[in-house]
């Protein structure tokens, strides 16, 4: 359990060559061993979705995987969303529409929404609500998150 293994994580295009215990969760490895603390652990249990990242472009809960399972896979986190100073349309929409208060769930919601909209840019309202309902926010009451994601979707469709 505590015997360590060498792995390489590709996070936002940067390679991290690290040595991990097999039991370390992916969220812990991303945060503690790669220093990317934008991804948050809210429940360690796969329920709240604060730790949502994109793994090979699929939204996944980083608390439900071990770091070692992500060896060689392409990971995207909130730190990689903006293009230099230019915010991703979803980031911009979240601040424009007051879709965050404490900001703790925000990275997870952003990555979930990126994953949803990249796969299905024309997603219907009901399907969007259904998909976004997999993450929890305790501050906003959600309405502004819905508004922001829809505004960003429009922006992304327009290119």
């Amino acid at each position: 359990m505590t015997q360590k293994h060498d792995i390489t994580l590709d996070i936002n295009g940067k390679k991290y060559e690290i040595t991990v215990e097999p039991r370390r969760t992916l969220v812990d490895v991303i945060r503690d061993q790669c220093g990317q603390t934008g991804t948050h652990a809210g429940c360690h249990h796969g329920v709240c979705g604060a730790c949502t990242i994109l793994l090979d472009d699929e939204p996944v809960r980083a608390c439900l995987m071990f770091g070692i399972q992500a060896d060689g896979k392409k990971i995207r986190t909130v730190e990689g969303l903006a293009d230099g100073d230019k915010l991703h349309p979803l980031q911009q929409a979240f601040t424009d529409h007051h879709a965050l208060q404490c900001g703790y769930c925000t990275p997870g919601f952003l990555m979930l929404a990126v994953g949803i909209l990249e796969k299905d840019p024309d997603i219907s309202h009901d399907d969007l609500i259904s998909a976004l309902s997999s993450n929890l926010c305790r501050c906003t009451g959600y309405a502004n998150i819905i508004t922001a994601v829809k505004a960003a979707a429009e922006q992304m469709r327009a290119g």
Partner: protein, 771 residues
Amino acid sequence: MASKTKVILGERLRRLEDPPLITGQGRFADDINFPHQLHMRIVRSPYAHAEIKSINTGRASKIPGVVAIWTYDDIQNLGPIDFRADKSAEELKAFRQFCLAKSRVRYVGDPVAAIFAEDPYIAEDAADLIELDVNQLPVISDADQEPGEFDEGLGSEAALLTHTFGDVSSVWESAYLVVDVDLRTGRHSGVPLETRGAIGVHNKATDTLELYGAAKIPHRNRDTLVRMLSRPPARIHLHEGHTGGGFGIRGELYPEDVLVLVAAERLGRPVKWIEDRQEHMMAANQGRNQHHLARMAFDQDGQILAMADEFWHDQGGYVRTHGANVPNRTMCMLTGAYKIPAFQAKCHFRLTNKTPAATYRAPGRFESTFVRERIMDIAAEKLGIDRVEIRRRNLVGVDDMPFKIRFDEPGLETLVFDSGDYESLLDKALVHFKWDELQAELNDRRAGGELVGCGLGVFVEESGKGPVDGARITVDTNGDVEVLTGGASLGQGFETTMAQITAAALGADYSKITVIHGQTDRIPYGIGAHAARATVMTGSAVNITALKVREKALDVAAELLQTTADRLNIENSEVFISDNRNGPSVSLAEISERLAPGSKHLGGREPNLSAEGFHNTKESAFPYGIHFAVAKVDAETGHINVERFMVAYDVGRAVNHMLLEGQLVGGCVQGVGGALFEEFSYSEAGEPLAVTLADYLLPSMDCAPAVECLVTEDAPSPTNELGIKGGGEGGINGVGAAIAGAIDDAIGQVGAVTELPVTPQRMREILNRAG
């Protein structure tokens, strides 16, 4: 995002807080690390009530990487977690919690040992090997059962509290109608998405203890730590970073906060503790859990003659930092927005073997509004008076303001409702919600077989309780403005709010303002962010201070522009002659330079473009509101769908409507959780049954109603210069009351809802009872 126009209060300015939070650059508790740090893991009691016979740490201490293991014996010189307002709580002192259990454990989750290790995974491994040997004791599972024993010779009823005015006893016999209710509110909590965290550091060079991960009330907690650790205030500092939600429960002083500080000093290394979710659900403050037997007397026209309430407050295992604040708030706000001639409330403040309770957003008010408004619905039905009309007849009138509620008991604070036009808000809200049209529509739908109905809850909130807060504002030679406060940011938009007030008062460029909060080493005082105080208290202090800086800037500018200060204005950090906008001007940066220490332009002035100011008040500001709900019941599953919800709320004056609505909507959805889903339930043996977010159900997006807001500014508060009243709790206060009313209406059975949350199981029971 430089603002190119004058900033005004009320404007929907985008938040200053957002850039780091949307790019993953936040600094939450778990993002803070120090070289050579240790990790603390708390071993918690698996028993609800037991006497500790022994704690064997032998096996755990042999794990490589474990540096120390402490039990109570190792911290014998450390007193229990103290009350914030310790004078009023003298009789409750015996019920305080030690940082590690002394001789008994009193809830599942009670800390019994602390492990310090090189790595959090190792600390958790070691925790599994701690052997706790106990004699189990009888479990007190509810506050309304026979009182038990807190300690040898000490009963579980910590206090019998009362609030009284007028004579209720003569009313019951003669009244036209007396309504009796038996109501319960479930055990809820704030459940912020970030769990708690604390990092203790001992700076040996200065012999200063530093606590990171602080929130809500860093200065007040500093003061408590000063007492507990016998250190001067200059040698303990608390630091607030980003905080992932507060809601009243985060940022109180807990055992873990004290332990990391004591350990950092004693072990000579920084000590980090991050709570996991399961711990959070059994260790962080809970609330709301009350059982009320209440009654109200009415005359034939629906005028309230008297109200009485005896209730049992389930405090859990210990009395924490607030003392008996929550039951006291429950009692003093029970009468709400109504004029009631005689009143008697009695609270059995009882310890049980559950996680300790304290304040959760709108503490005592969510509960008391549920009780009072349930009775109003039943009285309306029994008297054949419309639900809205009976409320209207009893409202405190605009001519009654300021409206005083004086309690007979010596020492109890008199409430002074500072301002308000409750009936006007009711009228506006009815129109906005289209109440009359709605009744016809719902009648049609019910005729078509749907179980759908509407309800409302009227309430008064409390905010801005003093006594004082202050601020320091400095404009540097680059024109950057630092607003230094002792406030706290829990996600509510504190920085934006303070910057907006500063920009409006001083005329400074909003984008050049930095707001400091939660740093006890930067400013010696601070009221923090609790009980909707921040915008009223700190905001007022910031306004006063910004106006002082403005005065100083205008004084210098008048000299430079060869005019008098009263002819000058400031916008976007430029001082100009009011009737000559495009004429000569001088920037705040230039003025700051002329006021630099040693500057030959100082004249007789104090150096620096800065000021310190205070807002003092003896009075609270009382906002008021009405909640409206439309709910549909699924008879088969018991599921309740809240189709519509409206929060009508008067805040006196809004600083930023976008943030205010954010508070109202967010609070409302939390209230929906408390009304329908959320509950910390326990087995008979006192085992917590909701220790994950899969058991304790927070509202998710698909079950959160789209909340409409009607914000009015009809009754500015006379307690402060800007007229502000607090906005943090108005979204949640009446949610339980309004949804209960809507469910009753949907099933055509007034008074059917007697307990929150109305889970699908409870809804099914209600329907089955109704046949």
